[in-house]
């Protein structure tokens, strides 16, 4: 039996701890010990309601600090911006809000490489969080006048005497309509004119300051955008994009792709577009519908973005941020927050390759670092099965499949076999095998994709 809400199919299969765990990965950063069981007891409706209406944020767990116990300096110190946000992902009681903030960062991808101010990047981050599940139209308006974005895509270089097309083009291509969908090169030029008027000053010591809208830099003339004619300004520019008939399909497909690896079927796509339009471009109901959709619950697994993987491992063993090493480690895995590779954001379909996989290995190694048992002192059973059980218990029983269990058992058997007949090896190898099993579980396919 298939049931629907607002014309969108709803998962009616089992919803227990395993399904809740998957949901927590898609809509957050994975469960802390016990959280999947707890969420599973709410049922799908209750779980989605809790995720999409989380109330006030509580930060759970130890406060973040660097390796020397000093508080983070996210506005100033290199890399502290990254771990500051990672900490929020680890400690938040509103995982979906934080995950949506990450999605908007990818969607309106702005890099501090072009902005040069961690303060402005964090201001933008607060903006994404504020609008996380709210109105996309308001989000677009705020992004358009956001100082980091004005610097990144030359919005405050764009004036009536020397128009700069950079923001105009990306606003349509990447933020609202999609490449070559419903606009022309002429529209790009006209949008650029409509978007003129933003300025900022440069201070020798402070860098970019005094961001403002100055009508004397705005081109007040008539423009033709999507065949509408008028004396359009930047607000019109945003409105014309959001109300463009090709916007809802772009929005729905892009948003869906963050949660489900396979494209929605035609009926689902259309129903979500209707839902989006009828709710006046609100994000929350569309996300809620995606989280309830059968494709999320029974379809293939989704490869976790590197920061989600990292935050998830820390949550799993209740470890807080106690080092800034995660910045370069996550960068090795292909995702340094506030530094997306370009305005198109990260390529969410290609997180894993031989280089980024190695980055994940090192993330896992740093997560495990202080838990490594000393082969000279610790004792572990000379028994492959018991060693594997112990390593699973360490990670709070992640759901490993048969293939992975077989690989891990094979490894343990072989390594223990090497110790045969040598007394010191029989003592020490099981301890090393335990350390290695924890490492291998952390990089196993089941922990890379959920």
């Amino acid at each position: 039996m298939l049931s629907r809400v607002a014309g969108v199919a709803v998962w009616r299969g089992t919803f227990g701890a395993a399904e809740a765990e998957r949901l927590l990965w898609r809509a957050g950063f994975g469960p802390r010990p016990g959280e999947a069981q707890k969420l599973g007891r709410l049922g799908l409706e209750g779980a989605v309601h809790q995720l999409t209406n989380p109330g006030r944020e509580h930060l759970v767990g130890p406060r973040p600090h660097d390796r020397n116990g000093r508080p983070l300096a996210p506005l100033d110190a290199w890399g502290h911006d990254h771990v500051w946000w990672l900490d929020r992902m680890v400690r938040t009681s509103r995982p979906l809000v934080e995950r949506m903030t990450l999605i908007w960062h990818d969607w309106f991808a702005t890099s501090n490489d072009g902005v040069g101010s961690q303060r402005l990047m964090l201001d933008q981050n607060h903006l994404f969080r504020k609008h996380s599940l709210g109105s996309f139209h308001e989000l677009l308006l705020d992004v358009t006048r956001d100082p980091a974005m004005l610097l990144w895509l030359n919005g405050s270089d764009n004036s009536k005497d020397s128009p700069n097309e950079n923001y105009a083009r990306e606003m349509m291509e990447l933020f609202t309509l999609g490449a070559d969908r419903g606009y022309t090169e002429h529209d790009v030029r006209e949008q650029a004119r409509a978007l003129t008027g933003f300025r900022n000053n440069w201070d020798q010591n402070l860098g970019p300051v005094k961001f403002r809208y100055d009508p004397s830099y705005h081109d007040p003339g008539r423009k033709t955008i999507f065949r509408h004619r008028g004396r359009f300004n930047w607000k019109d520019s945003c409105r014309l994009c959001v109300t463009h008939p090709d916007h809802p399909s772009f929005f729905v497909l892009k948003l869906w792709s963050y949660f489900v690896p396979e494209a929605p079927d035609h009926g689902t796509q259309k129903a979500l577009e209707r839902l989006y339009k009828s709710s006046k471009y609100a994000v929350r109901p569309v996300v809620a519908a995606i989280l309830r959709h059968p494709a999320l619950h029974r379809g293939p697994r989704l490869v976790k973005p590197p920061v989600v993987y990292n935050a998830g491992l820390l949550r799993r063993i209740r470890r807080g941020i106690d080092t800034t090493d995660w910045t370069w480690l996550d960068s090795m895995a292909g995702q340094q927050l506030f530094y997306p590779p370009n305005v198109g954001g990260w390529d969410d379909t290609r997180w894993l390759d031989t280089a980024t996989w190695r980055g994940r290995w090192w993330i896992a190694q740093y997560v495990l670092d202080r838990h490594a048992l000393d082969p000279g002192k610790a004792h572990q059973p000379y028994d492959a099965q018991k060693l594997l059980d112990g390593a699973c218990t360490f990670w709070h029983d992640p759901p490993l499949g048969r293939a992975t269990r077989h690989a891990l058992t094979t490894f343990a058997h072989r390594a223990l076999h090497d110790a045969k007949g040598v007394a010191w090896k029989r003592e020490q190898y099981p301890v090393m095998v335990q350390n290695a099993l924890r490492q291998l579980i952390a990089v196993s396919p089941e922990l890379q994709a959920a």
Partner: protein, 456 residues
């Protein structure tokens, strides 16, 4: 980088015998006439002793350590006879009209009142065009007839989106739905099932041009940076653990698990191939590369060292240093990027020449589009159409491909330079003249593109 000595006199078989004999195991079969690891970057002796240092010293000559050692040596010594193509991407849309500035075109100063370059060296084949002053390295190679210039390469109805246009170039077709790269499709036909190094991205993620459907490819940031470690796991257990990475590759049908599993299997294979480079010394170069915070020159140095060691590389991709999406502040940004790119390419070419590898390597430099002929008023330029490309190597034909169309008649309706050569022509010609395969199997609709003479 320090200079190192040329090959010493030890024969490869003696070294192999000694190396393996030291480890206390049987000798591998050495066939007479088996190719030697070429070149000088890692001399043969250094290369082999490195292998030992990395594998045997740590693992005490265990059966496992030795197997990894043998694989490393075998992979390195199998001596690729295949030609090597290195693709270098100028990301952001490099301004062709500054890379080769048409100072001899009467409209140039009018369109570029602030940005027009003046002086420098004209191009021998077209005295309207002048080399950007930062490109002395390329200019030098050009004077040695090791550069082919494409002054206006692109395609008709150029898409001005970075992403769409780059996608076209990466997949080798103006088709947004293609999911494999043009080099990836070539490797799917000509490559091997067990050699990730055949398609190598020297950067933090895989270059889309190398995306394959069937055979493995790899990305690494450098050959000496592919180590795996786990605290308090060493010796035989560590070796078993690293082997288990490959065991994780066997996964059931779920697409997400399979992706993760396949990458694990590739990691396993690549790690074994690169064992010889995993020592604290890394590698040495016979020439000096530019000093920079940007990893580009070091990556090229590593690439030459890998080729020198005989690793089975075939198609390689790197992103050039620099910011080429110059909507504002173009002069400084462009100079910086071009300078480091050209100086590094010159060093790479000299490195290959010193190692006796130059005839096996061809470098292709490209960007997703050029920029608009008229500047934008912010000391910058907006997205355009055709741009500049280069082929570098001792075996390039050295004759300009397509002409510079001029600013009077050569601009399209949007004021962008029109293409006089097509990127798919370049790919088809490279596939046929460099790789010796039929381009029709790789480039959609290949027959409709003329083949310029690219390889001498």
């Amino acid at each position: 980088m320090t200079r190192c000595n040329h090959c010493d006199g030890l024969s490869r078989s003696r070294l192999l015998h000694r190396a393996l004999a030291e480890a206390g195991h049987g000798l591998p079969a050495i066939e007479p006439g088996m190719p030697l690891p070429a070149g000088t970057g890692l001399t043969r002796r250094r290369f082999l002793t490195r292998s030992l240092g990395a594998a045997v010293a740590v693992y005490g000559g265990s059966r496992l350590g030795l197997r990894a050692l043998e694989e490393g040596i075998a992979a390195a010594a199998s001596g690729p006879v295949a030609p090597i193509l290195v693709s270098i991407f100028l990301e952001g849309g490099a301004d062709g009209l500054s890379v080769l500035s048409p100072q001899g075109d009467p409209l140039y100063k009018q369109l570029r009142p602030q940005l027009a370059l003046a002086g420098g060296t004209p191009l021998a084949e077209d005295d309207r065009l002048y080399w950007h002053p930062a490109l002395t390295g390329l200019q030098q190679l050009y004077s040695e007839q090791k550069v082919t210039v494409l002054p206006a390469v692109g395609y008709t109805h150029a898409d001005q989106s970075h992403f769409t246009s780059r996608h076209y170039w990466e997949v080798g077709a103006t088709d947004t739905s293609l999911r494999t790269g043009w080099l990836g499709r070539y490797l799917d036909r000509a490559g091997r099932k067990d050699n990730p190094l055949q398609g190598l991205s020297l950067e933090d993620t895989l270059a889309p041009a190398l995306a394959t459907a069937r055979v493995p490819v790899a990305s690494i940031s450098g050959p000496d940076q592919y180590d795996f470690y786990s605290k308090r796991v060493w010796g035989e257990v560590e070796q078993r653990m690293l082997e288990a990475i490959g065991l994780l590759g066997h996964q059931p049908a779920d697409a997400g698990l399979r992706t993760a599993g396949n990458v694990a299997a590739q990691v396993d294979r690549l790690r074994r191939q690169l064992i010889p480079f995993q020592s604290s010394n890394g590698f040495e170069s016979p020439v000096t590369y530019p000093q920079s915070d940007d990893p580009f020159p070091q990556r090229l140095a590593g690439l030459a060292a890998m080729l020198g060691a005989g690793l089975p590389l075939h198609c390689v991709a790197l992103t050039a240093p620099g910011e080429y999406d110059t909507h504002a502040g173009e002069p400084a940004a462009l100079t910086q990027g071009l300078q480091l790119t050209a100086d590094s390419l010159l060093a790479f070419q000299r490195d290959l020449e010193a190692r006796g590898l130059a005839d096996r390597v061809l470098v292709h430099v490209w960007s997703e589009f050029g920029r608009r002929a008229a500047e934008n008023g912010d000391s910058g330029t907006d997205h355009g159409a055709a741009g500049v490309g280069f082929l570098v190597g001792t075996r390039v034909a050295g004759t300009m491909v397509g002409e510079f169309p001029g600013l009077q008649k050569g601009l399209d309706a949007d004021g962008n330079v029109s293409a006089t050569s097509d990127f798919r022509s370049v790919y088809a010609a490279l596939l046929e003249q460099w790789f010796g395969v039929d381009a029709a199997a790789v480039i959609p609709n290949a027959r409709s593109f003329p083949r310029p003479k690219l390889v001498a």
